[in-house]
Amino acid sequence: MKISAEKQKEMLWTMLLSRRFEDELTELCKIEGKIPGMMILSTGQEAVGSGACAALEPEDVIITNHRSHNHLLAKGADPNTLMAEIYCKRTGCNKGKSGTLHLAVPEVNAPCTSTVVGAGPPIAVGRAFAQQYKGEQRVTVCFFGDGAAAEGSVHEAMNLAALWRLPVIFICENNVYAGAQRYEEHAPNPSMADRASAYAMPGEAVDGNDALAVYQAVREARERALAGEGPSLIECRTYRCRGHGEADPQHYQPKEEIRAWKEKCPIPRLRDDLLAQGLITAADVQAMDDRAEALVKEAVRFAEDSPYPSPEEALEDVFA
């Protein structure tokens, strides 16, 4: 499949924006008391969210997990309100109720970030069921980790989705670790994609640091889903370059391993590819990066200047 120049540039752009956004968060976390709660980043894994979301239409849905910033930015979430939410400010996309962990951005069809590991897939099944029920030509993409794949809910979701041929694309982001457990310490089968065969659905492992490969796989899965052929499982093999969270000293991750994966960083890889294809120039890249930097600066300024919610606002937005 030929991937248009526009799409390729879009992927590079959302990866650059995510990286700038999260690098800034890394710095902000070093300032005591600036950002409440835990900080969980996807540095090094941007090709997954950026590649997958580029393959979607705005009306398609994503359900994401605790490592959500890249997925949400790639789906088109506003960096200002995302950053303000991460700061727990009133102007945040969830008015300070969520903080960084459960960012919900229904306006870009990213209605649920569950930080309960493995909870996303059943919800994605429900969302895809609604799409099928209403006769929409839409799909739901669900991002979950290799660790999450051990939860029963993930198996149950895949089984039901396959049985009812629901338009779901399960994307397992295999970043080698679940907390401090290496993949082989928590999963007996070296291939997560293999699981698809248990549900008689297509399963494919792709290089998760290659945005174009991720795009291609998701695009094909989307076409199958829209043709009524049901769900697919795509395992994106990538690597968690930072700790589980920013407070994690990564003592269990070999230094050489981190270094080797940093060399396989998805961003220069796509950039060089685009340069080689002659689709962009070095000046274009610079301009994109400058724009990402400016947007992130603006987001931080917006978040810093925004007020905290007043205490009683805690009582709002709950029914019953």
Partner: protein, 325 residues
């Protein structure tokens, strides 16, 4: 006396019990190799000391962890499993609620399930409602489970050792806010009995019944009120099930007034149970209506001012006390 955070006290209890009884093993996500290299955390160093045969790092599978405990316990082992945060009890709850709690009954008393489920709980970390949600009332509502929620490091050590030696399934909930504050803990091997509340501060004007992270709030309020000449007696429940009604009623008999204080949300909270017990069995002891001070009926929000609003504080307690003085 040594001073330990509650996490270290739990660690000491686990270590001592694992040395004492080879049937004790621990399992959970990251109980061996944790992302935390922090000696303040409960299972720190146990893998090095007891090896991977007895310190089992599991996949992220709460149902499997809890089921492992149920099956292994029936076979005579004494599992102490960890469910990382209290809200994830929902994922383990079939195994705990429908099995651990019921199988002894179902077997006509032939089988026993001596297992402990440890969980972290408590608001105050800006992590939001999927990590901060106190569900002790859910566990307490399920017959067949004991429910323990220590408020001090010393109690955590003594109660966990009792829980491990108990033949019942025990839900053991540790408030994260107590992990890092050093408190005196006896060095010897001692057992704190499950099912006994403790008067943590004697007083004569009003009884405050509380547990877990709220003990500090009660102590702070009592300190302030003492300066105004109000004498507050604080009963730390330590165990919700079985409930030590006697200590509660004895205290209410002495003071004639009761405020129940807990961090969990109000509706259906365990405070209601205590209120009902006192109304049924101690109505005549009361000189004034009792009061509950609890979290409001909302999920725990992440933003600091909202989260502070959620957590009951000493001023709210003082107001409630003054209303009934």
């Amino acid at each position: 006396m040594q001073k330990l955070g509650m996490g270290q006290a739990v660690n000491q209890a686990l270590r001592e019990e694992m040395h004492r009884d080879p049937n004790v093993f621990i399992a959970g996500e990251g109980v061996g190799v944790s992302i935390h290299l922090n000696p303040m955390f409960p299972t720190h160093g146990l893998l090095e000391e007891f090896g991977p045969g007895r310190v089992k790092d599991t996949p992220v599978s709460e149902a499997a962890i809890a089921g492992l405990a149920v099956g292994a316990a029936e076979a005579g082992l004494r599992p102490v499993v960890e469910i990382m945060f209290n809200p994830f009890f929902t994922l383990a709850s079939d195994m705990i609620v429908n099995h651990a709690a019921k199988l002894r009954y179902l077997s006509g008393g032939k089988s026993t399930f001596p297992l402990v489920v440890r969980m972290k709980s408590g608001a105050g970390f800006g992590a939001g409602c999927q990590h901060s949600h106190n569900l002790e009332a859910w566990a307490a509502h399920c017959p067949g489970l004991k429910v323990v929620m220590p408020a001090t490091a010393a109690d955590a050590k003594g109660l966990l050792k009792s829980a491990i030696r108990d033949d019942n399934p025990v839900i053991f909930i540790e408030h994260m806010g107590l992990y890092f504050a050093p408190m005196p803990v006896p060095e010897n091997d001692y057992l704190t009995p499950i099912g006994q509340a403790e008067v943590k501060r004697p007083g004569t004007d009003v009884t405050v019944v509380t547990w877990s992270g709220m003990l500090g709030v009660a102590m702070a309020a009592a300190e302030k009120l003492a300066q105004e000449g109000v004498s507050v007696e604080i009963v730390d429940l330590r165990t919700l099930v079985p409930l030590d009604k006697e200590t509660i009623l004895t205290s209410v008999a002495k003071t004639g007034r009761l405020v129940v204080l807990h961090e969990a949300t109000r509706t259906g909270g365990f405070g209601g149970e205590i209120a009902a017990v006192v109304m049924e069995e101690g109505f005549n002891l009361l000189k004034a209506p009792l009061r509950r001070v609890t979290g409001p009926d909302i999920p725990v929000p992440a933003s600091p001012p909202l989260e502070r609003f959620y957590i009951p504080d000493d001023e709210q307690l003082i107001t409630a006390i003054k209303e009934i003085l």
